[in-house]
Symmetry: C3
Subunit: 166 residues, 3 copies
């Protein structure tokens, strides 16, 4: 099972002024695969708080996958990718590209998501957009690849590049 933690990044969500419908979309998609939700938190769009939460999860050895939702756009307070970049050790650009390419096919605004994907220690971190539709479409694009990605990070699988078509 892929131990998954979800971080909703939203000023209004953290203030209790917005129902978190994005996490519901994420949970629905996770049911299609070998994922188990081990934590869920809501933080405001504060770079230091986002960074601290991701880092804590990655360094605990209890979370294989961190999914963030929110803070990937162009508004002045959208800083989730910057927070993520500060803590990841290796970037996985292809997953971010795939999410955007999939989204753009139905809505050109998907190109404005600045979401980043990367690895810290043995945890994969994925930035999803904040809207329910954006989060769902982005996660749909990559959800089937995530278990393999996590297995590779954990060393339970030949590396992804070796497994490609073999």
């Amino acid at each position: 099972m892929v131990r998954t933690a979800i971080l909703t990044v939203s000023d209004r969500g953290a203030a209790g002024q917005r129902e978190d419908t994005s996490v519901q979309e994420i949970r629905r998609l996770l049911q299609s695969g070998p994922f188990v939700e081990v934590d869920y938190q809501v933080v405001p769009d504060e770079q230091a708080m986002i960074r601290a939460k991701i880092r804590l999860w990655c360094d605990q050895d209890t979370v294989d996958l961190v999914l963030t939702t929110g803070g990937t756009g162009l508004a002045m307070r959208d800083r989730t990718p910057e927070a993520t970049r500060e803590v990841i050790e290796r970037e996985v650009p292809g997953l971010a590209e795939l999410m955007r390419a999939h989204g753009v096919a139905s809505n050109p605004l998907a190109a404005l998501s600045r979401g980043l994907v990367g690895v810290r220690r043995k945890t994969l971190v994925v930035n999803l957009p904040g809207s329910p539709a954006g989060a769902r479409e982005s996660l749909e694009a990559i959800v089937k690849v995530l278990p393999h990605a996590v297995d590779t990070i954990l060393g339970e699988q030949r590396s992804a590049s070796e497994a490609w078509h073999n």
Copy 2:
């Protein structure tokens, strides 16, 4: 209206040895949307000059969008993306990806454009290729999204990720 400044980066252009046909293509496309040209300059392929000009425009609070053309290729003096990276605070990789994906569909050489997109303060900076066809095809791919992007940066719109499909 999106207050737009255009920067042509070209050694020959700055020396008066090349007619700037790329800016004409850019102007034609800008007429299709809510853009107003507020400045236009030509500089040689000097990283420090490109950087200084972009920074000045971004820090004046009079320009919402900077479009550069030229200096995105592989020639030794092509340094526009490097100059841009030095001044942007937040990268917008999806717009650069979209420009290249659109260009590659008609010409594989579009993959060689190293153009970067990012935000400094409240200004969006977009690197377009230097050829008239390259500048036109790249700008075509994103021109409809640019007003929304600028509105989001200015805070006049819900964030792009929230607006996605809502």
Copy 3:
């Protein structure tokens, strides 16, 4: 002719425990264009060794193109992109995007290749995946553009952006 050096990055390959079938795929593809192989080495997945080898080739003025294969995935020892980033001076993201987009069309796992492309001095460096199929499909996506890219770096061609559709 494009003077090409191939670097296989593989712990098992360097230990003589794995036949290098990926290099055979690469060689077959190179026969379709103006490439001449000038060197071939195998190193383990050690970031410092990968970095040193790429840098040496780039700084010798005898190699126009470095193709690496291996070490682009998510396994803990996959560090080829990190080694490459340490030595390149200018990134060429469009070639990495094109390789992944091409690969994803036949296999979603291609999104997990973290391969980087960039230029150091007058040499182009391309990270290919380690599996024979991954290396072949990635190189197929860009092989026709590589001679033009190298010519542009060497100054024997108008810049790629100027040549686009002209």
